[in-house]
Symmetry: C2
Subunit: 322 residues, 2 copies
């Protein structure tokens, strides 16, 4: 993938991008959240929205048009809601970039500036969806905003993140086994995160646990926890806390302090302890979710083995009509 | 409250509003989501963002300034995160409107264009937060967008919604008792909704059940359900489905069809059956959540009585330091 080339070609045709819409379904939607968060926090020229693909088609924004960029992701490349949304946006004159794993899919269409990614464990994080999106947005910001200051640090981060993730994967393997050993019969758990990493609390819940392990759980924002959800906390409830490094860490730390006082069963996945500090402070917020995604993969593997529930087993998805 | 006067005064000082930020915590954040959804779908001149107040202060958007409007809500009026965010935005030159129940609070400050609402059951829905926000945004759209077409239908809807809600409250009372009788021992449940009403799946979970009943549950988007979470569905799992009338109903209906086939325990709260059809189709999307909120109040009352868990009982909120 040549992010710079893709972006420059789009800017040549569309002059200026004013809106970036991040559209997908399920796990692919999760992958797009950090990009949305990045544009919302960093861009002086663009606005961003992040929403389920079908909701976009049902209630399309009035700003949609020539100066819009759609970033859509569909792992299999044929998810109807996503393909419909992308085609609809393209008809309205918007620029489109699709990410897919499947080169033989509807998403691999030249009108969509398709990017085909590989998903294997050994692939560099920079070449997987979250890395690709950050790379694209970094180029877009550089090309469009003269005052943009994060270009070099994000480019450096994209070079560093793979090594950080792979070292962290090794580091946590034993603790994922211990976690599974202790908690594999737990009826229910809460997963918390904040900032760009809120997406990973969501993805950990709906993909890694609900979909792949048929385990009941709920995702919570670590800040919002104190405005309602914390009332269920007691020594019997299980929590996983995704602690980001960066500006939103104070929300996660507050949740940790509370859990230490009132809970008994909680697992802390701390990006700082896992080495994310090698990324520059100015942009580490946007790299935490890449690390947390890899950690959710390790934890679900630990659970799969202990619970004897294969990660790929499905009873509905791709099995029945719905 | 005189919504028109408030909006015209703001427009006089700020010329034009380009960004509307909806900021709050917990239940108050829930109340602001339909307004966010409305601006995102309907406005040709404004963009909207909806986020936990602290996250806004931690990662403030670069667009924040003279042409921004902050709509913030704090029931008690002193929620630190919300007050901090509002003061920060005010310093940046943004227009601010605060909604609060407490006239003796930090939110009742003349720089914040405060609106004091009453919360009692008999108060007209138009005078409660969701109604107030819709009224304000309707005036803002009318004042700012010559092509805006929903003004009269929304104004009519605001006159009708109170009667609809009060009739629905009477209609569901017995079924909330039956629901509580059947399910009060349920260890866990999922609550689904979509469109503007996704906020009510969230609020039902984090406020009515997690906070007020210490009950474990998870909120899901009815569209996203099919991209992961539906794998946990079986005859033992309990679901509450908020079925909106309007453009996003097709997502809720799809979820219902699936539940009818693969689940056994599910409660449907259908806005159409509960009379929301009196509101014009062009804007009913923005009224469903007002009805669903009132329904969540009835269901939690039913659960309170059967579970003998007082709705106002807290073990942490306002009780301990955190």
């Amino acid at each position: 993938m040549n992010a710079k080339k893709t972006i420059l070609e789009i800017l040549e045709k569309h002059d200026e991008i004013k809106d970036v819409y991040f559209l997908a379904c399920g796990g692919s939607l999760v992958d797009l959240y950090p990009g949305f968060y990045f544009i919302q926090a960093e861009s002086a020229t663009m606005h961003a929205a992040w929403l389920p693909a079908r909701e976009f088609t049902i209630a399309p924004p009035k700003h949609l048009g020539k100066h819009s960029l759609i970033i859509a992701c569909s792992h299999g490349g044929n998810t109807k809601e996503t393909v419909d949304a992308v085609r609809f946006a393209h008809e309205k004159g918007a620029a489109v970039i699709t990410l897919t794993h499947n080169k033989d899919s509807a998403c691999n269409d030249s009108t969509m500036n398709p990017i085909i990614y590989d998903w294997a464990e050994e692939v560099d994080e920079k070449e997987k969806p979250q890395g690709i999106v950050l790379d694209l947005l970094n180029e877009l910001m550089k090309a469009q905003e003269p005052d943009y200051k994060l270009y070099d640090t994000i480019a450096e981060g994209l070079l560093k993140i793979d090594r950080i993730v792979k070292a962290a994967v090794k580091k946590v393997q034993n603790r994922t086994w211990v976690f599974a050993e202790k908690y594999y019969k737990e009826p229910f758990l809460y997963i918390m995160g904040s900032g760009a990493s809120f997406s990973q609390a969501y993805g950990f819940s709906i993909c890694s646990l609900q979909e792949m392990q048929w385990m009941d759980c709920c995702y919570l924002h670590s800040g919002e926890y104190f405005h309602g959800p914390f009332e269920v906390t007691d020594e019997d409830h299980l929590y996983i806390l995704l602690m980001s490094k960066g500006s939103n860490r104070i929300m996660d730390e507050r949740a940790l302090t509370f859990l230490q006082k009132y809970a008994n069963k909680y697992e802390v996945i701390d990006a700082e302890e896992l080495g994310i500090g090698e990324i520059d402070d100015s942009c580490v917020d946007y790299f935490n979710p890449i690390l947390f995604y890899a950690m959710s993969v390790e934890y679900r593997k630990g659970l799969q083995d202990k619970r004897r529930h294969p990660l790929d087993m499905r009873r509905y998805m791709g099995v029945v009509e719905y």
